[in-house]
């Protein structure tokens, strides 16, 4: 096992699958000569040639639409949207079309494509390079939505996504790309789609989260450890289909739940998790299910002061933990 970053894990997952399966190819803006703005496809043009590493025009709707057509016709495209903020023009093709093709053709056609996109804030990205866009996809039945937090999960889940026969939205928190390192096996492996993971064991409460916030939550759990608060951290990993079993099982044991995410509070992913816990673990709860999420303002600001106000942090999470623990 070697220690890798998230972006390395992503790159290796794609490279290995492309080596193994000639149907897999990548398309997107600046992914060929440039190797992607985050270098996710660095070296791919040289290794796989221009037929399988396609620089597209600046036109996201067609990137998704072309990927759908190629997938329906037997290939396995991996489309890169340069930043999640720029996927909005492609919504019609992804949510309107890709999600419904298997269902609407009664199983005759299907769309084995992956749409990768860097998302999330904390990188001085301002209004249009910081967005979290997960719930829009996760709400649409027919789409698989994955949001890994570690290099191990990123690689294993991306490989599973590429091999899946369903359209997969693969969300990579860009702040984790180079910040987060972890062990990644040398041999081939996949992480099963649709399974949450307990990233830290604890007894007093359960944090349910995903993406960058997993790391912040783990740090927060360390911060409060000496205060005698034992926190379990569940990493959802897959947002749709949602693995309810893992977090329910945890909350039933700890009796308290804190749902944490970077995206806006209202109608966010956390609402579904909280509502599920409230309904399914009603009698096990010692306190109301609490949410800590991004503020309901239209976007993350560019100035560092504004960005910090919007973003989560280990400290903010620790404060929420203490409050819930004291309930």
């Amino acid at each position: 096992m070697a220690v890798k970053t998230v972006i390395e894990a992503v790159r290796e997952a794609m490279r290995e699958e492309m080596r193994k399966d000639p149907r897999v190819f990548v398309l997107g803006e600046d992914i060929a000569e440039r190797g992607g703005v985050f270098l996710a496809t660095d070296g791919f043009l040289k290794e796989f040639g221009p037929a399988r590493v396609i620089d597209t025009p600046l036109a996201e709707s067609s990137i998704a639409g072309i990927a759908i057509g190629a997938a329906v016709n037997g290939l396995r495209p991996i489309a890169e949207i340069e930043f999640a903020d720029f996927v909005w023009p492609a919504m019609n093709q992804i949510v309107g079309e890709a999600a419904r093709i298997r269902y609407g053709t009664n199983g005759t056609k299907f769309v084995p494509m992956v749409v990768r996109m860097p998302y999330g804030g904390g990188v001085r990205g301002g209004l249009y390079h910081s967005q979290t866009i997960d719930v829009v996809f996760a709400h649409q039945p027919g789409l698989v939505v994955i949001a890994p937090s570690t290099p191990y999960d990123a690689k294993g889940l991306l490989k599973a996504a590429i091999r899946s026969d369903d359209p997969v939205i693969f969300l990579e928190h860009k702040r984790t790309y180079r910040l987060v390192r972890g062990e990644v096996p040398d041999e081939d492996y996949v992480v099963t789609i649709g399974e949450a993971d307990v990233k830290r064991k604890g007894d007093d409460m359960t944090i349910v989260t995903y993406g960058l916030a997993v790391h912040y939550s783990l740090e927060a759990a360390e911060l409060v450890k000496d205060e005698g608060i034992s926190v379990e951290v569940v990493d959802l990993r897959t947002l749709a289909p949602l693995d309810r079993t893992t977090f329910l099982e945890s909350v039933r044991r700890t009796s308290k739940a804190l749902v944490v995410h970077e995206d806006y509070h209202t109608y966010g992913v956390g609402a579904e998790v909280a509502a599920t816990i409230a309904q399914e673990a009603f009698h096990d709860l010692d306190a109301p299910v609490t949410r800590l999420a991004g503020p309901d303002v239209p976007a993350m600001g560019f100035a560092p002061t504004l960005e910090a106000e919007f973003m989560l942090s280990p400290e903010k999470i620790a404060t929420a933990i203490r409050e819930l623990a004291a309930y």
Binding site: F25, A51, R52, T56, P57, A59, S61, S62, A64, G65, I66, A67, I68, G69, A70, A71, V72, N73, G74, L75, P77, P89, N92, Q93, G96, E97, R100, I101, R102, Y103, G104, T105, N106, G107, T108, K109, F110, P141, G142, V144, S164, D165, D166, P241
Partner: protein
């Protein structure tokens, strides 16, 4: 690449000389057109009886649609159609029963199991795909289908059908641009009937037709008379050859009339003048086709009557059978959300 503004009509003489369409082909095409017309009329009837929820009629588009299929290879090519393609589906081999099951939403409907609007879904035999009601989405998808063929080195053509209305969508621009850059084997087949529901061409574009835009994507664009099977056949044939030989996409715009309101929910007297409605009748492709066959002495009165009688019989039988078929059971309702389901 030349853009022909004025619809190009082939004379019977020239067509006989070119000899590319046999008499047999012409008669077969006519048979499909008649079947389409009879079926279309039946569906309107079923709609008015409250049995068919919605109809988007192909009447007026029959010649163009049948000729396009004839000019391509249904054994290997891809057809990404839109909702006004009754004749295309018949020409590709679907039966009146298949289609009636769609309009009546009956069990076993072959394109979507009656999950979708009539004529929508995908077929397991011939590669016809009519996925969405969202106008224009098929265009980038067609570029993707063609890209896959090109990557595998398969000499297949992707024909993508769309209306004048769809040409206004951003997706149309993006699809044509990508196909042009990568010289993809696509035939962009635009059925221009001068209306997007009620919106006339003059409010859809500041030019005379969609083909004028082809140059902006580095591909040839032609406009042909969509009531003339030979003209359409020749234009699509040339475009398909070009595509199959690796020379890239083309745009073929066929000028047709939408002889009925947009759908059974529409009333075109709200927005078309009486003159316009009367005038378009002259572009009914069925009598035009009959005149062509008559000039070539390919169709006697008896033969013509026999073809119509046969079509009606077939549609009658199919209607009975479709009406006797139940609605799909809701049991399988959750199937096909994901691969394993």
């Amino acid at each position: 690449m030349p853009t022909r503004r004025k619809p190009h009509t082939t004379t019977a003489a020239r067509q006989a000389g070119a000899g590319i369409i046999t008499s047999r082909d012409l008669l077969e095409m006519y048979r499909v057109m008649v079947m389409s017309r009879v079926l279309d009329e039946r569906i309107w009837l079923l709609n008015r009886q409250g049995k068919a929820a919605i109809v988007a009629s192909a009447q007026g588009h029959e010649a163009a649609q049948v000729a396009c299929v004839w000019a391509t290879d249904r054994a290997r090519d891809h057809y990404l159609i839109y909702y006004r393609e009754l004749t295309t589906l018949l020409a590709l081999g679907l039966t009146p029963l298949d289609l009636l099951k769609g309009f009546l939403a009956r069990d076993g409907e072959p394109l979507s199991g009656a999950r979708q609007f009539p004529t929508h879904g995908a077929h397991r035999g011939v590669d016809v795909f009519s996925f969405s009601n969202v106008v224009g989405t098929q265009l980038p998808q067609a570029a993707g289908v063609a890209l896959a063929d090109k990557m595998r080195g398969e000499a297949k053509v992707t024909v993508v059908y769309f209306g004048d209305g769809a040409a206004s969508q951003g997706d149309c621009h993006e699809a044509m641009n990508f196909a042009g850059i990568h010289r993809l084997p696509v035939v962009f087949f635009c059925e221009n009937n001068r209306y997007a529901i009620s919106v006339p061409l003059s409010k859809q574009m500041a030019i005379e037709g969609v083909a004028e835009r082809a140059a902006g994507y580095g591909m040839p664009g032609v406009t042909v008379d969509g009531t003339d099977v030979v003209a359409v056949y020749e234009a699509v044939r040339a475009a398909a050859e070009r595509a199959r030989n690796g020379h890239g996409p083309s745009l073929v715009e066929v000028m047709v009339e939408r002889l009925f309101p947009h759908t059974s929910d529409d009333d075109h007297t709200r927005y078309r003048t009486a003159e316009d409605i009367k005038g378009m009748r002259e572009k009914d492709p069925i009598p035009i086709m009959e005149a062509l066959l008559g000039r070539q002495r390919l169709l006697s009165t008896e033969a013509r009557e026999a073809i119509w009688a046969e079509a009606k019989r077939t549609v009658n039988v199919a209607t009975e059978e479709a009406e006797a078929t139940p609605f799909p059971s809701a049991r399988e309702f959750r199937a096909h959300v994901f691969a394993d389901a």
